[in-house]
């Protein structure tokens, strides 16, 4: 009896549930409800993708990284540099950003993933610092400290122009996020995704049953890097600006907090944590950006000490 129930549960796991439509309904409702905040909305959607890509690593594969912004920054800079130097086609720009970030993920993953724990953490940080330092020193092409300016993004499919109200940008980000979410959801529920959870929970056992642990970790690291690259490229294309803050340690840290506010390893934590964080930041951080960090830091400490599962974890506890 229990075996059958377990099999059922596994089979039902990947079926779409009505509740999963909620983020998308909310995103479309937000478009009509807050027409003057579409630029912020597009940034939120793109950042959800960034947090989602980090969730694949943290929540599923159990790889704790402090350098995820490296891939975000790489994607943003590649898309940005293309658009600033005469190739403003957005979708190929996005793919180029994804490709570059994925390649960086693959190459750095080959080195970084040989270890676990602190050495891994430290190496992800070093990779991100190298990307930031490279962007800083190659100022003739990246703009260095001043940021990359002069991007010209062409209309999507040659038709849909990026307007100043952010209508196009909002839907562009929403559609790309939706497609990437479908892919991430598919990965997570596939046998490959299940084996990642196995690696996170008990790596020795996965070795023992013959799972190619190293290769699987490398594959998810590359996929996650590519998704983070798409996210960076989206923000670069919709804001027409890339700066050194893109591959910074602050960004690698804040994506963790956005994710943890929502809940890690749930695929939906990003959809809750990112809007909460970014709306709060928009309201409170503009006056005194430095003190904003105090509240963010305090929130991180409080979440870790008292509300480990984030908002979704609290909801679970409430339901029980």
């Amino acid at each position: 009896m229990t075996t059958i129930r377990a099999v059922d549960a596994f089979a039902r796991r990947h079926r779409y549930k009505p509740l999963e439509a909620l983020p998308w309904v909310a995103a479309i409702a937000a478009y009509f409800a807050f027409p003057s905040y579409l630029a912020l909305g597009a940034q939120i959607l793109a950042t959800i993708l960034f947090a989602l890509s980090a969730d694949l690593l943290l929540g599923y594969a159990g790889i704790v990284t402090l350098g995820h912004a490296a891939f975000f920054g790489a994607g943003a800079y590649i898309a940005g540099i293309l658009a600033a130097h005469g190739w403003g086609e957005p979708i190929t720009g996005l793919l180029a950003g994804a490709g570059a970030a994925g390649l960086l993920g693959l190459l750095s993953g080959l080195i970084v993933l040989r270890t676990t724990g602190l050495p891994l953490l430290m190496q992800t940080l070093v990779v991100a610092t190298m990307v930031a330092e490279a962007a800083n020193k190659a100022s003739f092409i990246t703009g260095g400290d001043d940021g990359l300016q002069g991007m010209e993004v062409w209309p999507i499919f040659g038709e849909l122009r990026f307007d100043m109200f952010g209508n196009t940008g909002y839907f562009y980000c929403l559609i790309v996020l939706f497609l990437c979410w479908l892919a991430a959801r598919h990965i997570v529920h596939s046998p490959f995704g299940r084996s990642l959870t196995g690696i996170r929970e008990n790596v020795r056992r996965m070795h023992a049953i013959g799972a190619p642990v190293g290769r699987r970790r490398l594959v998810i690291y590359t996929i996650s890097a590519a998704l983070a690259g798409i996210s960076g490229a989206l923000i670069a294309q919709t804001t027409q600006f890339v700066s050194l803050s893109f591959p910074s340690l602050e960004r690698s840290g804040t994506v963790l907090i956005m994710l943890i506010i929502g809940g890690v390893g749930r695929l939906y934590g990003a959809f809750i944590g990112v809007p909460l964080y970014m709306i709060a930041q928009d309201r409170f951080a503009t006056a005194e950006p430095v003190y904003w960090y105090f509240w963010i830091g305090l929130m991180m400490v409080l979440v870790v000490v008292f509300a480990r599962g984030g908002v979704l974890g609290l909801a679970d506890r409430f339901r029980r």
């Binding site: 943290l58 704790v64 402090l66 080195i111 040989r114 270890t115 724990g117 602190l118 050495p119 953490l121 430290m122 190496q123 940080l125 070093v126 990779v127 610092t129 190298m130 330092e133 490279a134 800083n136 020193k137 340690l249 602050e250 840290g253 963790l256 907090i257 943890i260 890690v264 430095v290 003190y291 904003w292 960090y293 105090f294 963010i296 830091g297 305090l298 929130m299 991180m300 400490v301 979440v303 870790v304 000490v305 480990r308």
Partner: protein
């Protein structure tokens, strides 16, 4: 070709920088090895030491040597409640929790330091007897950095003696080697953790104060220099006293060398070198398998 005098100069500056890096990072290495705790906020303690030193000297005109002592003690005192109230809950826990907790503390420190001391960097005014140069006959050296090197060497020796020759040191080594066995033979590891943590933080505070000239004291200190401290620990190997010393020497000398010879590449080579070392030895030079 680089001249001999340039080489001596690189070596000298590198050595001074290495001493500062070691003083700050050794506590981090021990806490990480001993408690298995990823403490990204360790730089905050160095920053506290730096702020205590610079403010006592510039605002209250206290002499240099006593303030050094105060900086170390104050930092150790600040670190105690943090360890008891926060860190202790997460020993042996999940890495992600530790990362988030300590990153949160770093963010809070950035805002807190800006609130208390403003966004500008705090200059260190060395006392008269340490400004200027010392003439050694064949060559003269900047007095402050010579003092740094001597001071660092003395502290390193004292620390090694403490770890190798005292009862306290024996307990620390036992707990690093085998925590459960150490507990079984009756070592109060909770108190040991507390003492070691405070000692490591005090040393970091001292290093931050002494090195205020090299690693400028400003609100983003803990964030800016995090990579350096972590490199020293990861390259040296966790839980080791000797490893971080070798790593700090390598990093200090390589850093001043690259910045002197190839300034246009900044710190890029340092990071590449770090990756190369970790590729060769993932657990660091002196890390145990």
């Amino acid at each position: 070709m680089i001249s001999l005098s340039a080489l001596v100069s690189i070596g000298f500056h590198g050595l001074a920088f290495a001493m500062v890096l070691y003083l700050i990072s050794v506590g981090l290495s021990v806490t990480m090895g001993l408690m298995g705790f990823v403490n990204l906020a360790h730089g905050v303690f160095a920053m506290v030491g730096g702020y205590v030193l610079t403010s006592l000297m510039s605002r209250f005109g206290v002499a240099f040597l006593p303030t050094l002592l105060v900086a170390a003690l104050a930092t150790a005192l600040v670190s105690l409640p943090i360890e008891r109230l926060l860190y202790r809950r997460f020993y042996g826990g999940e890495e992600l929790d530790q990362v988030l907790l300590t990153m949160g503390l770093v963010f809070m420190s950035v805002a807190g330091a800006t609130y208390l001391w403003g966004p500008l960097q705090q200059p260190l005014q060395p006392p008269a007897w340490l400004s200027g140069e010392i003439d050694l006959g064949f060559r003269s050296f900047p007095a402050y950095r010579s003092f740094l090197i001597l001071c660092g060497a003395a502290l390193v020796t004292a620390l090694w003696l403490a770890i190798e020759r005292t009862r306290f040191g024996a307990r620390v080594r036992a707990a690093v080697d085998n925590l459960r066995m150490a507990q079984s033979v009756g070592i109060d590891t909770s108190r040991l953790f507390m003492t070691t943590f405070a000692l490591g933080s005090g040393l970091a505070g001292l290093g931050g104060g002494l090195g205020a000239d090299l690693l400028a004291i400003n609100p983003s200190y803990a964030l800016q220099n995090l990579a350096y401290f972590l490199i020293v620990v990861a390259v040296g190997g966790l839980g080791s006293i000797r490893g971080p010393f070798v790593a700090a020497l390598l990093l200090g000398i390589a850093d001043s060398g690259f910045k002197y010879l190839l300034p246009e590449f900044g710190a890029f080579f340092i990071y590449a070198l770090t990756m190369a070392v970790l590729l060769w030895r993932p657990r660091g030079l002196f890390g145990r398998a």
